[in-house]
Every structure is written in structure tokens, then in C-alpha cells.
């Protein structure tokens, strides 16, 4: 039976791991991301996502170096993203150790990019990430690292995505990001009715019971978290112990 996945997200700005609260970057968590990876490996995290959130497009090169260092030590799947504009960017990420690539803003702006990318690298390699904020009871799609409201309803964007050949959807709640209040469960219930693609939830994880709630309420594939995995010692191991005791099907 297919297991639910626990994913650690590393938010990288200028070569260091940073904390994010409602998409504002706050303090540095790790000055050496490759050390974080050592722990994740040991703790049996199921997957790692690393995102370059730097505002500076010149950060691409440093990010590739960081990715390369991380991938040498990681024997779980790595997804990388940030500043992906064309197939060449994807190739660079894959060459430096990513197994999958996540695209957000440029997927929204340029649908051809998604078609070309999945044709060349295979659907399973391409993940579309969507940043969502609830405004007047409607889920709206934001791009540009949560800065720009596209005024598009989430369901309309997902409807388009359903026609693309992609592997997964990584859906983040801007409202919940960094709050530790738990996932936006209604959001994922809603998304699940709109697509058959695998869904990764991100935003709000502060206690392991929130993962249990997510899996029990929504039937999605994976739960991602960022800050908690850095601040709690043996975090993934503890998470798995707790969740297994609650009969969540994990590896």
C-alpha cells in the first residue's frame, strides 16, 4: 500500500536556510543547508524540497552549488525550484541533483513552459506550486512569491492545470505560512474535489497532530513543513512515531 509522505521544505535565500512567516523571510535557521540534510537523512524524512526564494535572479548560480552539495548526501528524492523560466533552468537543476522541479509564477504566466518541460523531462518531473490566499471567502492565486494577487480563483487555475501533463501539485497557504496553527484543512478538501493529481500540502505545520488531522480529513498524498523540522530535534522520527501510533500509514 502506498504510504503517506512527510516532506521537509528548505527555504533558501542567499545560500542559507531561512524562516518564513506569511511569506516574509525572518531569521536564518541554518547557515549550512547541507547540515540540515544530514539530519533529514538520519531521521528518515520521505522527501526534501528546496526553494530558492531570493529576490535576486543572480542567486541562481549559488543556489545550484547549494543543491549540488545537498544532493551528494541525500538518498531521498529532492525537488528544487525558484527562478525556473525555461527548459535550460530545469536541466541545470536536474544536473545539479534535483529529481523533480517545482514551478510557480512562470507556470502561471507561461503555459507553454509546462508543455515543453513535461515533454522533455517527463510529467513526473514537473510539479506546479500554487500560493493561495483566502480573500472574501474565495481562494485566490498569488504569484511572485506571494506578492501579486492574480485575481484568479484557485479552481480556475486548477482546471487549466488538469489539462497539463504534470506530476504533482504543491499547494501552499500564505495565510497559514509560519503560523504553526495547522494546515488550512478546508483548502485541501476543496482542492481534492477539483483534481485527481497528487497533492502536497504546505503552510502552518506546528504540531504533529496537525498532520494526522490533514491525512484523516482530506485524503491527500503528502504533508510538507519547514520551520518545525529544523527546530525540533529528531523531528521526522518523532513525527513518524506519533503518526504511526495514530494509525497513519507511513513508511
Amino acid at each position: 500500500m502506498l504510504k503517506k509522505r512527510l516532506i521537509a521544505t528548505l527555504i533558501i535565500d542567499k545560500n542559507v536556510v531561512v524562516q518564513s512567516i506569511n511569506y516574509d523571510l525572518t531569521n536564518i535557521i541554518h547557515s549550512k543547508p547541507e547540515i540540515a540534510i544530514d539530519y533529514f537523512n538520519k531521521w528518515s524524512i520521505d522527501e526534501i524540497i528546496i526553494l530558492n526564494v531570493s529576490r535576486d535572479s543572480g542567486s541562481k548560480k549559488i543556489f545550484l552549488r547549494t543543491l549540488k552539495k545537498i544532493s551528494k548526501k541525500s538518498f531521498v528524492p529532492i525537488t528544487a525550484g525558484g527562478w525556473v523560466k525555461n527548459n535550460n533552468d530545469i536541466k541545470n537543476l536536474l544536473k545539479n541533483g534535483a529529481d523533480k522541479v517545482v514551478i510557480n509564477t512562470n507556470a502561471f504566466k507561461n503555459h507553454t513552459l509546462i508543455e515543453l518541460a513535461s515533454k522533455e523531462f517527463g510529467a513526473q518531473c514537473i510539479i506546479i506550486s500554487i500560493d493561495v490566499k483566502k480573500i472574501k471567502k474565495k481562494y485566490k492565486v498569488f504569484i511572485d512569491r506571494g506578492r501579486l494577487n492574480t485575481n484568479t480563483n484557485l479552481e480556475d487555475w486548477i482546471k487549466k492545470i488538469n489539462n497539463f501533463n504534470i506530476g504533482e501539485l504543491y499547494i501552499s497557504s500564505i495565510d497559514k505560512d509560519g503560523t504553526r496553527q495547522g494546515y488550512d484543512y478546508d483548502l485541501y478538501k476543496f482542492v481534492k474535489t477539483k483534481t485527481k493529481k497528487p497533492i502536497v500540502a504546505f503552510g502552518g505545520l506546528g504540531e504533529w497532530s496537525q498532520i494526522e488531522k490533514l491525512f484523516k480529513l482530506t485524503n491527500i498524498s503528502a504533508a510538507a513543513g519547514a520551520n518545525i523540522y529544523h527546530y525540533v530535534e529528531n523531528s521526522a522520527t518523532k513525527a513518524k512515531e506519533y503518526l504511526k501510533s495514530k494509525k497513519i500509514n507511513l513508511r
Binding site: 500500500m1 502506498l2 504510504k3 503517506k4 509522505r5 537523512n41 528518515s44 520521505d46 549540488k68 544532493s71 551528494k72 538518498f75 531521498v76 528524492p77 529532492i78 536536474l94 544536473k95 545539479n96 541533483g97 534535483a98 529529481d99 523533480k100 515533454k119 522533455e120 523531462f121 517527463g122 510529467a123 513526473q124 518531473c125 506530476g167 504533482e168 485527481k196 493529481k197 497528487p198 498524498s221 503528502a222 513508511r251
Partner: protein
Amino acid sequence: MIGVIDLNISNISSVINSLNYLKIPHLIIKKDQDFEKINKLILPGVGSFEAGIKNLKKNNFDKKIITSVKIEKKPLFGICLGMQLLMDESDESPGIKGLSLIRGNCVKFSNNIVVPHIGWNNIKKKKDCKILKGIKDTNFYFLHSYYCNLKQKSCISTTVNYEKKICSSISYKNIFAVQFHPEKSQEEGLKIIKNFSLI
């Protein structure tokens, strides 16, 4: 010396990283003369069936692989797309011929289930094979939308359950292949790569 075939569409670095970690001598096959230097082959790969075959053909690697395996009897290890490329054909790319080292075709999962099959799933052993030595029915990382439907069921070493029981690894003479990613499945995965290096 193990040769790793670079399809130039996929991340071979994770396979290379695992070989480095295990200190297994290897080289990346870039031109057809490289085939003379090696005694074992790894065919890794993510990407589409068509792109995979096209890239093999571009460098004449398809013929080289067939000669190495069928005539020179070098052990071959296919991973993920590398396993599917061994088949006759795939629903993913109609009209494109595979390597036909193993008889069968690749079929898409039905619409009743979340596709791709992504994540950790436990394999079930059907028979013993050299690369699975010391491996129990444990979890490996899968990521695929098509699966291999073999004509000769005796080639199936393990199955996995996703909607139904499907083939998750193959062994046939000197040909070995896995649908999952051993290079991304921590210790148990590395054990399989190590086993292949010891054949």
C-alpha cells in the same frame, strides 16, 4: 567498471552520487567507445519513453546496449524509465519501438487512481534474484505513470500494489531492472545498487 548511460534528459547525478557514496568504480558513458571500458551497465532515467529512446538512438547506444547484453553477456541494471525502455513499446509513445530485451509493453494506470504513482510503497518478492539479496518486502520510492506488463511472468522478481498488483522489478539472465528508485530509497536502495556491483 560500471558504465552509467547518460540519456541527457534526466538526473543521473543521483545514481552517480550513490555510486560515489558506495565507492563503486564507474564511468559515465558519453560515446560508444566507452562501452569497451566497462563490464556492467546501468540504464537510469526519468523522462518520457520517446525522449529516452531518441536519445539512445542518437548516439547509437541502443545497438551498443543490445550487443553488450545479448552477445557480451554484460549485466544490465535498468532503473525506472530504464526498466521501461527494455520493453517492446509503451502507451506513452505509440509507434516508438523500445529495446525489446524483455518482451512486453508499458501500460498507463487507469483514471480511477491518482497518477503518477508517487511515494514509498512496499514491494513483494516473487522469486530470488541477485540484486535483491538481503532485501525484505520493504518500502521503496516510486514515481511513474506507466508500468511494465510482461509477456513472460517468470521474469517478475517483485510486485507492488497500486490499484492492482503490478511488476516492480525484473530479472532475466543477465538483465535486472527496477521500477522504483533505489538511488532515492535510502539504505535498502543502496543495498540493491551494491548487490548489482557485486554480480
